[in-house]
Symmetry: C2
Subunit: 242 residues, 2 copies
DNA sequence: CGAACGTTTGATCGTATTCAAAGTTTGTGG
DNA sequence: CCACAAACTTTGAATACGATCAAACGTTCG
């Protein structure tokens, strides 16, 4: 995580262009920029470690960052794949408690770090910002619960099917839709609570069944209804055993 | 979920005595009480269903409520076991998005429901309340991440060991501690991502090993260090295979 | 073109689930 | 206070599923 020294004015401009600060008061952004720094993080290098106290708010400028929980077998469970324009660390700063997750770059990334105290000071003077942050954290919370629901499903095939159903935000086409995987397959597998091998097998299976077509990281779901039907079928199959 | 009609004044008193509202402005509590209602929920009856839009903020007066994610095999993954004085629904109200979890009573319970709009109105006029709520939601988020870390561990024994380590808030005694399980074993198992059978087996095993002693819902961890050592041993055992 | 990285495929193994039934605690009514 | 019923928990045996290890296959980038 190499510090890139930048002229303060340039840093302020970078901040104001980030989606994260869209609609924020210019004065607030300017003051936050004063104590900010930009960093380059090489692929697979750590950004912060689980258990440390939060001293910065992080906003991703480019690249991709994974927030993860370390597992006893040396693997990781990914909590969130952070995309450019998104931030992380808000909740830990508010509580001033140890970070519940580690963070590392999935690929070469640029990150802006903002002093936690400066951030808290702004929150203290702006109810609008407070409300915005509350919505932000609430959104992260709910997103995590959605992921948890997927991970908790007992069948790995169903986890993958649910994941595919959740991606129905890509370009729509008659009856189906198309999208690009939001990260490496190994990372997505880690977010679904699967090994990359199992994830690969399930995707292959769905391909054989003609439910999806896969070319590299691009996936085309031929028939959304068929997917939902498959999800229901898995539920039924497990239920019939009773 | 039977509505118990109560005199508004009595309801206001009940609210002001709840831990949830400790330190809140009396005027705020009074206005919230105006649109509130108290309900009796029998054991295993639903309080709210996953996917519904949030129309109330709930605070538990007595009993116990579980927030859960439904699984395809008819079981549940418990997200949170709500204890008296705690509330739920804040995040969903802020986002006005469908509830990510269902809620049901673990035992006969009394619940107070507060209109979401009245709650939001108070938030809009009180930055202090806003900040308080932000901390509340951030805390729920982090608690969920902690649970997620336990659930994600590949070994069921380790999940139980970690759970026991997290309970080190009970009465301390030389080298160890004692506590009462915060709910039925089946519910705790569901929170750890285990079946009740597996949970029972792991507890028995730890009992045989002399690490814990169990009498009903009371558990004595004889040696906290031994437990941590055990946790580390599981990590090492899995690691040595590499 | 070569090398590093990421993904896929195959074979084996371990572990938690499942189903079934016995055992224990808790609560209730006589 | 005891007896009985219901709820909850524990134990046992068989099974299925995903993880693991190992190696081949593609792909992307110097």
């Amino acid at each position: 995580m190499n510090n890139l020294s930048m002229p303060p004015a340039h840093l302020r401009d970078t901040l104001s262009r980030l989606a994260y600060f869209r609609g924020w008061d210019a004065g607030v952004v300017g003051r936050l920029a004063a104590g900010a720094s930009q960093h380059a993080v090489a692929k697979d290098m750590p950004v912060l470690t689980r258990g440390a106290l939060p001293e910065q708010l992080y906003i991703l400028v480019s690249g991709q960052v994974r927030l993860y929980l370390p597992l006893s077998n040396g693997m990781e469970r990914i909590v969130s794949l952070v995309m450019p324009g998104e931030g992380f660390g808000e909740a830990a700063i508010m509580l001033n408690k140890p970070l519940p997750y580690g963070a590392a770059a999935c690929r070469d990334s640029h990150i802006i770090a903002i002093g936690a105290r400066a951030y808290q000071a702004e929150l203290g003077t702006s109810p609008a910002l407070l409300e915005h942050t509350l919505r932000l954290v609430a959104g992260q919370y709910q997103a995590t619960l959605r992921d948890m629901e997927i991970c908790a499903q007992p069948s790995s095939l169903q986890r993958v099917v649910r994941f595919l159903m959740n991606q129905e935000t890509g370009s729509m086409l008659e009856g189906g839709y198309e999208f690009t995987l939001p990260g490496r397959k190994r990372d997505i597998a880690a977010k679904l609570g699967l090994t990359q091998e199992t994830f690969s097998r399930m995707l292959s299976f769905l391909g054989q069944q003609g439910v999806i077509a896969m070319r590299g990281a691009a996936i085309r779901v031929g028939d959304g209804a068929r997917l939902r039907q498959m999800d229901a079928a898995i539920c039924a199959k497990v239920a019939q055993q009773a």
